[in-house]
């Protein structure tokens, strides 16, 4: 599958073509438009780390800022968190569930 070039200095936000619902504490991502995700009727959920990052994709902060805030909040090594952020966004961007903000 196609790899996506990511930069920590970019702002990503959930695509308008998906709906995210929290059900029983889990984020469920439901593709709305055609071409999102791998197959039309698939839904997606995120692991714990993914969910923490997703909650911060508010269209205001770059990935680096999100990683820094998380490292601070959870007192965790920044490089590890940055890897997690990029890992998640890579998976989501490849499926067009998140989109990069263009100025």
């Amino acid at each position: 599958m196609k790899q996506v070039e990511l930069s920590l200095h970019t702002i990503y936000q959930p695509s308008e073509d998906v709906v995210a619902r929290e059900i029983e504490g889990e984020i469920i991502i439901i593709p709305l438009a055609a071409g999102i995700g791998d197959m039309e009727d698939e839904l997606y959920t995120l692991n714990e780390t993914g969910k923490m990052i997703w909650d911060r994709l508010d269209g205001r902060n770059t990935l680096a800022e999100i990683a820094a805030a998380l490292a601070d909040e959870y007192d965790a090594p920044l490089d590890e968190i940055e890897r997690d952020v990029l890992g998640l966004i890579e998976e989501l961007a490849r499926r067009k569930i998140v989109v990069a903000q263009t100025e």
Partner: protein
């Protein structure tokens, strides 16, 4: 750039069949059926619900757009993730697109039941751009203009249906088909089946309607007589069932699990565990059960407000559970159905009893006869035996189910 070497699974795919966001617990409402209108642009001779397309009085009584949106929001708040829009012909509503998009934006997956005649290029484009997430289900009433139009009682109906289906195909919208088999189109079953497997997104052979329900509003005895005359006989019904691949194995598993008398409790089924809403905003325990004592007008907000709940939550938690406790009192039912081991197999139920007899607990002879023919065919009953008189039914079911290992 990050490579895949992180090996962490941040995003998990939930395929619909394995989708269990509640971890085995049932949400209060996972699916909602909404009948958007009883009106239809077809006038099918076997239909249990259709009202005239242009009936302004009925259209005026239908739920408003705002009411339906509020209902969808209430459902989403209870955890609902899928909705079925049905009718009548749901596409007759001018606000269909608005309601569809509203439901999709709430994250609901949509099932649309339609005769396809009102699918326009614009609607097809919308469904292609924002797919239902579940399925468009088209019912077919014939493979030729002559047969289709005779069933739909509308000249030109077949041409409209065909155009609609072609639009779905052109726009690569996934849809499945089922056929109502009637005297006018029975000879086209093979043609339909061959077409269905190539035209639609069918994994298995299509489904058929053959045991048509009587009028759900009990509004027209003359039409009921017509519907009765169009039904497959019990023997024909069972012949169609047994022609399906894997039928016996399926029945062996089914019988081992679901057969046995249910006593005087009327709702051993799932009725009232979810909700259906009729075109006028009344909640029903199931689609066919329109007995006036067992429908709840969702416009009624007082009780729900007093309980600090949405009307939909109120009906699901305070109203339906009480109705599910209703017990049979009809001596005929108590003598027969309450003691009958074919209960799981038989289509007799409070909704059928309502449609046929206007109450909740009268055995329905047509379905009784089908269940008996089917049980005889499976070797569960001998000629002339009445299922409710059989005492060694457990043994019979065990013998039948165990035959599986020998096949």
């Amino acid at each position: 750039m990050v490579s895949k070497s992180t090996q962490k699974e941040y995003v998990r795919i939930l395929s619909p069949s394995r989708f269990d966001p509640w971890h085995g617990k049932a949400p209060l409402l996972s699916h909602l059926d909404i009948e958007l209108t009883e009106r239809c642009n077809n006038a099918c001779i076997h239909c249990c619900i259709n009202q005239p397309e242009h009936d302004a009085e009925l259209a005026g009584r239908e739920m408003s757009t705002a009411f339906i949106k509020d209902l969808l929001q209430q459902a989403a708040d209870l955890g609902c993730i899928s909705v079925r829009f049905t009718g009548g012909e749901p596409l007759l509503r001018r606000d269909f697109t608005e309601l569809y998009l509203f439901a999709r934006r709430l994250g609901m997956r949509v099932v649309l039941f339609t005769n396809a005649r009102l699918i326009t290029p614009e609607l097809a484009q919308l469904l292609a751009r924002i797919p239902p997430g579940k399925m468009v289900e088209v019912t077919v009433y014939g493979m030729q203009a002559e047969s289709y139009d005779a069933v739909a009682a509308r000249a030109g109906a077949f041409a409209g249906f065909w155009r609609g289906v072609e639009l779905l195909r052109e726009h690569k919208i996934r849809f499945i088909v089922k056929q109502s088999l009637l005297p006018a189109n029975r000879s086209e079953q093979a043609e339909f089946e061959a077409w269905a497997l190539t035209a639609a997104d069918m994994k298995d052979s299509p489904g058929y309607s053959i045991n048509f329900e009587l009028r759900g509003r009990r509004d027209n005895p003359a039409r009921n007589r017509v519907i009765e005359s169009l039904r497959f006989s019990p023997e024909e019904s069972v012949a169609l069932l047994t022609s399906r691949p894997g039928y016996v194995e399926e029945m062996q598993q089914f019988c081992a699990k679901f057969m046995g008398p249910s006593g005087d409790l009327l709702f051993g089924c799932g009725a009232g565990k979810g909700a259906c809403v009729d075109a006028y905003g009344r909640a029903q325990m199931c689609m066919g059960l329109r007995h006036p004592d067992l429908v709840w007008d969702l416009h009624r907000a007082d009780e729900a407000e007093a309980a600090d709940m949405s009307p939909l939550k109120f009906v699901l938690t305070e109203v339906f559970p009480k109705w599910r406790e209703i017990r049979a009192t009809n001596p005929d039912y108590l003598q027969r159905c309450a003691r009958c081991f074919l209960k799981g197999l038989c289509e007799q139920c409070p909704a059928r009893s309502w449609q046929e007899h206007g109450d909740l607990d009268t055995p329905v002879e047509y379905f009784c006869a089908i269940a008996h023919v089917q049980a005889r065919d499976l070797g569960l009953l001998d000629e002339g035996e009445k299922a409710w008189e059989v005492e060694d039914w457990r043994e019979r079911i065990a013998n039948f189910s165990n035959r599986k290992s020998e096949t």
